[in-house]
Amino acid sequence: MKRTLVLAVLTALVAAAAAVTAFGGNAGSDQTGSSAVPAANDSALIRCGRTRTIGVAAPITGAAASIGSQQLRWARYYVTRYNATHRTKFRVVSGDTQLPDTAQAIQVAERFASNSRILGVVGPAGSQEVQVSSAPFRNGGLGYVSGSATRTSLTNDGSRRGYFFRTVPNDDQQGPRVADYIRTVLKASRVVVIDAQNSYSTGLSDTVEAILKNRGLNVRRESVSEESTTDFSSLVARVPADTQVVYVPWQLAPKAQLFGQQLRAAGKTARLFGSDGLFDPDTFKIPGSLVSFFPIDLKSKVINAYRRGPGKGSTELFGLPSYVAADVVVRAVDKACGNGTATRGEVRRNIAATVIPKAQSLLGFTVKFVKQAQAPLGPGDMQRPANFGIYQISSSGAYVRVS
């Protein structure tokens, strides 16, 4: 009898849960308690309300957590600053993509796409993540702006037109700039290129190596797993003593710092040339080294406030383009929500039309997106003059822009 009663109660509970799941249309309602939320797609009309939501997809845990967490902090920092000065508020929903595990990136994209409150996305971080996330974002009608995915084909192949945007130059912009500087300014003839065995690094390494070899320079290519390598002394041993420049398009500044120190300790005088991933004045400080990055104002109040606040003493500039990406998405959502409702399609179109004037852009130039392909730029890339400058690290560790 007792057993029958227990079974009956359990059955009733299960049935009730099933009923709630099937018919509970208020599961996704906004705070104003509107009726059942429309399906999340391109043209579904969404009531904006006073609190709007953006998604941030970044590797918060895993091997790339040190850079993903920076991107999340910078994106949140933008939202915090926005909320402090506006009546309408924004809320961040974060998704942990666990780069390089692209399976997680797909799940995050699907979750964001099915969450009808999310009107735009910052991220994902890695080029391979953008590739695998494209279908879910497209199916959900979501626009997404990455602060770090640089593979040229992401915008040039046309498959993400109108959906994917980025607030970083692509590999075909940064690579030739770096190669040109190495050849014409540094006048180097013996170069070692060391890629970090990830999509960001190999793309840049391939471009720089190809250009320099075509120009007749002696280029040696090496590889190292940036995430898992802790001892670079064997790699240092492979760098010939007469090397003039070592190009390291890596993303982990502490690793590059260690590599540079071990290089110096071994008595090798080659100059290190880092990519934008190594622009970290707090960590990567090998004197005489060069780094490519946006022509930012290092004395900017926003950057210094970040250092005092979320950065906890560090500027974490790798995440800076994500701040700008959040700015782009929020402006687009705000504009779409002007009449109280918005569709994801509207937000995407607004992203494409966003212009952040130079005075308001932390990147040091006006942010505006390309609509028609103009090699090496594709739809979704930032229009010229968006590109990287070259910084030299002085003997005191200060970054000085030289080009």
Binding site: V224, Q261, R264
Partner: protein, 324 residues
Amino acid sequence: MELPLAFDAQLFIQLTVNGVTLGSLYALIALGYSLVYGILKLLNFAHGDVYMVGAFIGYGVLTALGGPLSLDIALVPLIVLMFLAAMLGSGALGVLIERFAYRPLRDAPRLAPLISALGVSFFLQNSALLLLGAGFRSYDSFLLGSDQPELFVPGPLVDPVFVIHGVNVQTIQVVVLSVTVGLMVALTLFVARTQLGKAMRATAFDREAAAMMGIDVDRVIASTFFIGSVLAGAAGVMFGLLFSQVFHLMGFLAGLKGFTAAVVGGIGSIPGAMLGGLLVGLAESYAAGYVGGRWSDLFVFGILIVVLLVRPSGLLGARAISKV
């Protein structure tokens, strides 16, 4: 892959020095695996993360005393304090892990404590991530103790102690090697000559019989975890001093390679752990130097597979005898 055309003696010596230094760390980690496996037949997969915690404790002491760039005390006492704090802290952690994650499962099927070990590993990694963040912390050993760190003048740790055929052997490398050898000698003497060491050997040989002979098996096992974790803590600080950066995931691969070293040398064997560590370190160094960085892990784990196929008990491990 690009192979050298002619034998380069300087490169070979450099890689050997690198390999021996790296191997010392792996040997210390391997010792912890071997000690625990010898007594409990348990692979303590959390051991690599105890090493990570030791590295962070060392970093904590370093920064509390003004490091890395403006030290409040002299370099030598600082390093001694870092070692002591890391070793004691890691030792205490090891005892706690044994008490709460393994002891309740001592009589459970063998899989249960193994899964518990994995759980502890993830717990420690993610605790470090949540409490300390994902960023790298730097011992900055290149500039540690430098008179002019602002001018990038290297500190005494990277000064060459002696030069072999043009290859600088740095102070820190000599320190690491000396401390490792000292700890290993101390461990060997401890196990061979002290009462607790004898109790550990007896417990490893036959736990039940040892208990029947009046040995406090719980205390012996806890002591074993303490000693193994102390060695891991020391290895953690050495890693920080050698390679500067510490982060929450550093224990995973190091633990895996330490485990490889223990298996290659013969799990349960102290000399085997030392030999295995050396071999793994040298293999990694030679592979990275002669073949390429992307091949080094392949070679290391390839050696593991070969040893398991050819001599499953390891190079110095005792062959298991089964009654028929």
